[in-house]
Assembly symmetry: D2
Amino acid sequence: MALTAPLRGVVPPVCTPLTPAGEVDTASLTALVRHLLDGGVHGLFALGSSSEVVYLTDEQRATALEVVVNAADGRVPVLAGVIDTTTPRVLEHTRTARSIGADAVVATAPFYTRTHEKEIARHFRTVRAEGGLPLFAYDLPVSVHSKLSGALVRELAVDGTLAGLKDSSGDEGGLRRLIVALGGAAGRASGPAPGFSVLTGSELTVDAALLAGADGVVPGLGNVDPAGYVRLYDAAVAGDWKAATAEQERLVELFGLVDAGPADEMSRNASAIGAFKHALRLLGVVEHGTTGMPQIQLGAEAIAVVSQRLRAAGLTPVR
Amino acid sequence: MALTAPLRGVVPPVCTPLTPAGEVDTASLTALVRHLLDGGVHGLFALGSSSEVVYLTDEQRATALEVVVNAADGRVPVLAGVIDTTTPRVLEHTRTARSIGADAVVATAPFYTRTHEKEIARHFRTVRAEGGLPLFAYDLPVSVHSKLSGALVRELAVDGTLAGLKDSSGDEGGLRRLIVALGGAAGRASGPAPGFSVLTGSELTVDAALLAGADGVVPGLGNVDPAGYVRLYDAAVAGDWKAATAEQERLVELFGLVDAGPADEMSRNASAIGAFKHALRLLGVVEHGTTGMPQIQLGAEAIAVVSQRLRAAGLTPVR
Amino acid sequence: MALTAPLRGVVPPVCTPLTPAGEVDTASLTALVRHLLDGGVHGLFALGSSSEVVYLTDEQRATALEVVVNAADGRVPVLAGVIDTTTPRVLEHTRTARSIGADAVVATAPFYTRTHEKEIARHFRTVRAEGGLPLFAYDLPVSVHSKLSGALVRELAVDGTLAGLKDSSGDEGGLRRLIVALGGAAGRASGPAPGFSVLTGSELTVDAALLAGADGVVPGLGNVDPAGYVRLYDAAVAGDWKAATAEQERLVELFGLVDAGPADEMSRNASAIGAFKHALRLLGVVEHGTTGMPQIQLGAEAIAVVSQRLRAAGLTPVR
Amino acid sequence: MALTAPLRGVVPPVCTPLTPAGEVDTASLTALVRHLLDGGVHGLFALGSSSEVVYLTDEQRATALEVVVNAADGRVPVLAGVIDTTTPRVLEHTRTARSIGADAVVATAPFYTRTHEKEIARHFRTVRAEGGLPLFAYDLPVSVHSKLSGALVRELAVDGTLAGLKDSSGDEGGLRRLIVALGGAAGRASGPAPGFSVLTGSELTVDAALLAGADGVVPGLGNVDPAGYVRLYDAAVAGDWKAATAEQERLVELFGLVDAGPADEMSRNASAIGAFKHALRLLGVVEHGTTGMPQIQLGAEAIAVVSQRLRAAGLTPVR
């Protein structure tokens, strides 16, 4: 489906199910996409952080993206992460994404290397100009170790370099200043960048972000409960903030599954992604809860916590 | 006024007007407190970060607190910051605050020294036990360089150590998890810590925080426009989220004055506090815009920006 | 003793022995100073980070400094830490230090507040001008959360604001660039700031620092084994790098005592300072191993590790 | 040349000369390798950070490594950087490096993703077991945003996972503790990991590192002046610390060229790498000073500074 401008709604970062041997489990990935579409999501973000994009080889990335594009079958737009260290490498991923049929790409600022705001601007402008696809900026300081300034995002929104922003910076104040600079919650459509999409990656405060004027959300937890996030989004759009808040609070409780893995045994990343994947396995959507190397795998005790969290949130494990 | 439990509403961190020689300008401070009370605020937070507490000697701290307590005259509760590096020093400030008549104290985790969660817990418990006043935890990682974990705050809320939290961590997701753990937006009163007050220090997202179930806000910008924050709070309490958002957006625009000072000439702190103080001077509330040593002072160009921002927000300078 | 320019040699940050109730143990502190003087140290740094300066009230700071000045009795210069958040507070400590008889003061850049290089320069210039004592800059980013730039230190060295630098930044490359800019290891005396003293706080690489042209060291571990550090310094001055390295390696092994406390139970600070103090207790120098509130105290198992480390380094516990 | 154990001496990270269009300039790279071999270096580190590895596509990486291996022609061992985010991607680079003929690979801990020490251990063990080449760990927290602990490195050294460490952490104290744990400067050969190589990446303190017991250095600046670093190394090995220090100080002065680019216009990385490359161009070794996208290029003024620094250090530009 062609990308609308702005992109709105629930756009989950699609987990990448793996076999125990670490290969992309294409059947499970197809089933996951159907699970998301059945939940009513408005778009799909393949190869994002929650997709373990940085744990996949280039070949695995291509495989995963092909599966998502095919399974989406034009029903919703597919955004493809092109996460890599610098412009030449990001451009290669962009060309691949384009050839596979993604509707847009999502890129971070350069990482590993220390970078300058002028270099970040040059990076996005080059990826947009040479990549040939609508471009979303991904602000994720916890991984990239630099923060996209509001001034830069605004400039690149107004000049048409960026189709949108996926904000996972946690800087809600800065995001609010950006939204106000673009016209505010009510005036975005008549502001200086009317087609620009503001998506929050903060899955625990979606009601608040939508109240503030965000267009949508990219929730990792949306893999597990896409219908919940769609209900939350619909309530907010309808102005039913009481219902939106209640749904958000249920999802906050469910989110507790990310802490299932013991903190002295594994990274928070391995615990969270492992929990999403095991939740999907318990719900009968995917075959395995395996996460990419070198992450430590969740043990039985942690999986029991995940199961319990699912039940508490009204989702019934089938295994 | 005795502290209610939980404390609710708009509780500005009261700026500390200084003379050009760097002494506390008691007449201006009295006038500022009246300005805030006239604006309808629900409490006063003296000796906070926006009060430049760490730029004041102990004698100046005592002077400022006395003025605020006297000017408040029991109409609203007065919270006193007891900001210092470790327990023995915080306890000294607490004893002073108590003798001056503060209704509660606000303390951070230890700073300058590296600390451990068990030591932070011991710190708050000792300050509460030996200090003799209700205690609010102040979570400000940008200054303290450690983050209070949600688990610790919850524990100290439930066991009665803490009367509340002033959250300036910017971690809205973590705050949301805390609120949900305490019962959620609607269920706090019947939750495990019904008297516990959650105050956000994020002055740009107050509507969102109140939607999420926060009890109130400690806005530095509330010095300049207390009535605006009270209108925002009242709209939110009334469930009029459209009005709340519109008022918030006006305040976000006004907040732009914090960038008045040139970034290559002074700290963001000096620019922000200087802008608040010059705004108050331009509005006829205080005499001088002086900030504490060694901060660089705002120049004429920056002050013109402040003036312009005031007018744009519908506040009329009288000088 | 009047301060020489530059100050050279071993200048330990003097631990502050406490009673179990948390008061300054003046008898033990006097004994500790004698232990250090007997070890041959060239100066004393009272109220430094290893002195737990931020755990002491102002009254306790004054008491500790008086004891050190009295016990030093003019045999070596006494530097006094004036560690606090901003200029007005640092100036108060400086006036106290001067009245007690310190020979110089040691100040950090402002902390807790975010600061700008121009404000840091103004801070040091004001403390020097109004404080009336020779001033050492203390570069400790782990506590202060800003780094003194080499350019700023050089400027303040050349213009006479600073008598020296205590470098605990761990940025050995930056320190080397500073030393080279001041004339290099051999040419410092004829360089642009001939009386400026460069002291390293990195107690594990003193041989390397002296090779690079540093004037001396401020070793926390020097409380435990002052004679070892003096031997190391003397060997380096004599150009006997083999002996210097061997002595340094013995001290590196001894330094392992700082890890005695369990990392999941207490801060690294509490473990390290507690280990220094218990080592001094085991050696019969001070009465108690108590550290300041809210630090967790070392337990019997940790103390056994300290004892073992002492023996391994050739120091014999008497308890 | 087969890798000796431990690897010792000067092992520069070989810059990757680029054409103005951003392709690997293979003729210039061959000339650069000859320049380094003529300077007497003991090994070559291709595809390191100073090689702009993260600015090169996989194809460009392979090209650059082939050129270095061919030009080295077995005279010295070639280490190949396999810098990428996680195990599967690092393994792919390792297989390529092996097929091209590298003698060893150099890998960091996982980056972009948050990781845990147990996952880092698993990462290195897997790369070693499945990669089939000797493995050096690269500790570069400024890029990787986690620090390899001394305990982990020691464990992986003793069990044979690691052939060595390239330490660019700047934590000289931690490095010293590691060296002492492995036997100390004099006793490494009879210690628990006698073949393990400790290489410092801190090009400004090589004399100090060698005094402390490091085996060698990986100096970015060694591209420009390999003979200088070889003289420094030889003097240190001969115990002539006065000569070593004098040579080091000359190189510290030369290093000033990394600041040639204006800090408000480009990243420090772009300035430093651009300066190395333009220095090589001015010395007639390579054709262009181009750095990889999106880095800002050095301008004429900056290049003049580079030229001046070369002359001051006794190196004569030919253009």
